[in-house]
């Protein structure tokens, strides 16, 4: 039993190490020409623009729900005036970045894992190499960078749509004006709340892009392998995002002590 657990732990550590080396190689290759800007732009569009409807819809829904929950709690203490600020803080500091990361792990992670996996099993990656194109730079580096660029932007969109969702819920119940709501919402939010929390999503983007690209790029065993790469991309990227978030929040509090207040 102990031996079995040991083997499992060794396998997990080995896999994590391989993914880490893969990601570091991508970052190293990212600063070396050629830069594949055309493909990078296409990927930013794929990852960012095409995820926008999902992020906007989720942001609005989360804003409404958070507003209702916050109201239920703060009403007991007669502190309804704090609802917009509390909601904005919760969104900007944690909910927005984490939910955006997890949603993108689902939408983009599965897509990248399946796309690269299919390209591997149908020899399209070999065809790129045979055409004298560095498939790692062309396919992997561009996707990882696209995720790292798109995540902070989408998180900002998620934050704003969440606040708008909160406003909609609030204005239906209390008739609060747009101007007053936003004044109260942003009265509590500082740059030290927004910047570190949003920048950490670049790490989430790195995780999503790296895990999904690794699983897709190294796919074996035909279409079954493609399906597995897609599913595992979502599961493993989501787990890594949740675990890394704990570490990143702790680091944020260490570097920006005011953000812990």
């Amino acid at each position: 039993m102990v031996e079995l657990i040991g083997k499992q732990v060794a396998a997990i550590l080995g896999w994590t190490g391989a993914v880490f080396v893969f990601g570091v190689r991508a970052l190293r290759e990212a600063v070396r020409p050629p830069f594949e800007l055309r493909e990078l732009t296409r990927q930013v569009f794929e990852v960012g623009w095409r995820s926008l409807p999902l992020i906007v819809a989720a942001g609005l829904a989360i804003g409404v729900v958070l507003s209702m929950h916050t109201r239920a709690s703060l009403e007991r203490f007669g502190a309804e005036a704090l609802i917009p600020g509390g909601l904005a803080l919760a969104l900007v500091r944690e909910t927005g970045p984490l939910v955006t990361g997890l949603l993108l792990a689902g939408r983009v992670g599965a897509g990248i894992g399946a796309e690269l996996g299919a390209m591997r099993v149908t020899e399209q990656i070999d065809a790129l190499e045979a055409t004298a194109v560095d498939s790692f730079k062309y396919l992997v580096v561009t996707r990882i960078l696209a995720c790292m660029i798109a995540l902070p932007i989408l998180t900002t969109v998620m934050n704003f749509t969440g606040i708008i969702g909160g406003f909609l819920a609030e204005t239906v119940i209390t008739g609060m004006s747009f101007r007053l709501y936003f004044h109260r919402a942003f009265s509590l939010v500082e740059m030290t709340d927004y910047v570190p929390a949003t920048l950490k999503t670049m790490v989430f983007g790195f995780i999503i892009g790296t895990v999904a690209s690794y699983l897709g790029y190294t796919t074996e065993q035909g279409t079954e392998g493609v399906g597995r790469a897609s599913t595992r991309s979502v599961v493993l990227a989501s787990i890594l995002i949740i675990v890394c978030n704990v570490v990143l929040v702790k680091m944020t509090f260490f570097v920006f002590p005011e953000a812990a207040g």
């Binding site: 299919a118 149908t122 020899e123 399209q124 070999d126 065809a127 790129l128 190499e129 045979a130 055409t131 004298a132 194109v133 560095d134």
Partner: protein
């Protein structure tokens, strides 16, 4: 090695998962000639082609392309050599996210500074040579297997490479189209001096196109020579192969 040698394999051995796919394979292909690799399915013919383009590195032995040992090259150097080769994959391996025409234009966009109009014109010319001029805008998924194969050949020819590696060009094609593809390969060889390395099961096609034929059996090169040489072979596998009318 002769100065006019385009490709040379020297004692190449390769195993996957403990199973030996190529065993001490050596041969030499002269510039501007057509070399046809014959053999039953799974005997290592496609693996041999992938060694020549550097997609697979041998466990032992060397692969020389135009005098350079590509097994010792770094990726940038290998890319330089690959630009001088075209490769038609067994399953065509078209990029399925872009149109057929853009597949053919892809190598031109990557490796030339030609204006967009000229690239489109050249891609169209290549598609016309394989009978797919009307299919420029179609997506690969909309093509039949044979059409995909021809589009793959057009892409392999896009940069007018001095060496063309072709994996089963007639698989999935009707006899008339097979004849047309054979004619196209012969024209490339005669007019442009292209060196052809063709993997095929189609014996009539190999007889028509190949200056030299070789038979691989169980990863071992068991015979090599002209079609007439192989016809006289006493090796049963070679004899069976040469007497078969196997097409496609």
């Amino acid at each position: 090695m002769r100065r006019d040698t385009a490709v040379r394999l020297e004692r190449v051995t390769k195993a996957f998962g403990g199973r030996r796919i190529l065993d001490d394979v050596s041969f030499e292909i002269a510039r501007g000639t057509a070399f046809c690799l014959l053999g039953r399915s799974g005997t290592g013919k496609s693996v041999t082609l992938k060694h020549i383009v550097g997609l697979i590195k041998p466990d032992r032995g060397s692969v020389y392309v135009e005098g350079e040992d590509i097994t010792a090259l770094e990726s940038r150097e290998l890319a330089r050599i690959r630009r001088r080769m075209g490769f038609l994959f067994q399953n065509a391996a078209l990029f399925d996210s872009i149109s057929v025409g853009e597949n053919v234009a892809f190598p031109l966009r990557r490796h030339t500074a030609l204006p967009d109009g000229e690239i489109r014109k050249r891609a169209l010319e290549k598609l016309d040579q394989v009978g797919l001029a009307d299919d420029y805008k179609k997506m690969p998924a909309a093509l039949s297997g044979g059409m995909r194969k021809r589009a793959g050949l057009a892409r392999a020819m896009a940069l007018d490479p001095p060496i063309l590696l072709v994996d089963e060009p007639s698989a999935g094609l009707d006899p008339i189209t097979t004849g047309e593809i054979d004619e196209l390969l012969l024209t490339l060889k005669k007019r442009a001096g292209t060196t052809l390395v063709v993997v095929t099961h189609n014996i009539p096609s190999a007889r028509r196109v190949g200056d030299e034929l070789a038979v691989i059996e169980g990863g071992i090169l068991i015979a090599k020579g002209t079609a007439a040489d192989l016809d006289r072979s006493s090796e049963p596998t070679v004899h069976d192969f040469m007497q078969s009318s196997g097409a496609g």
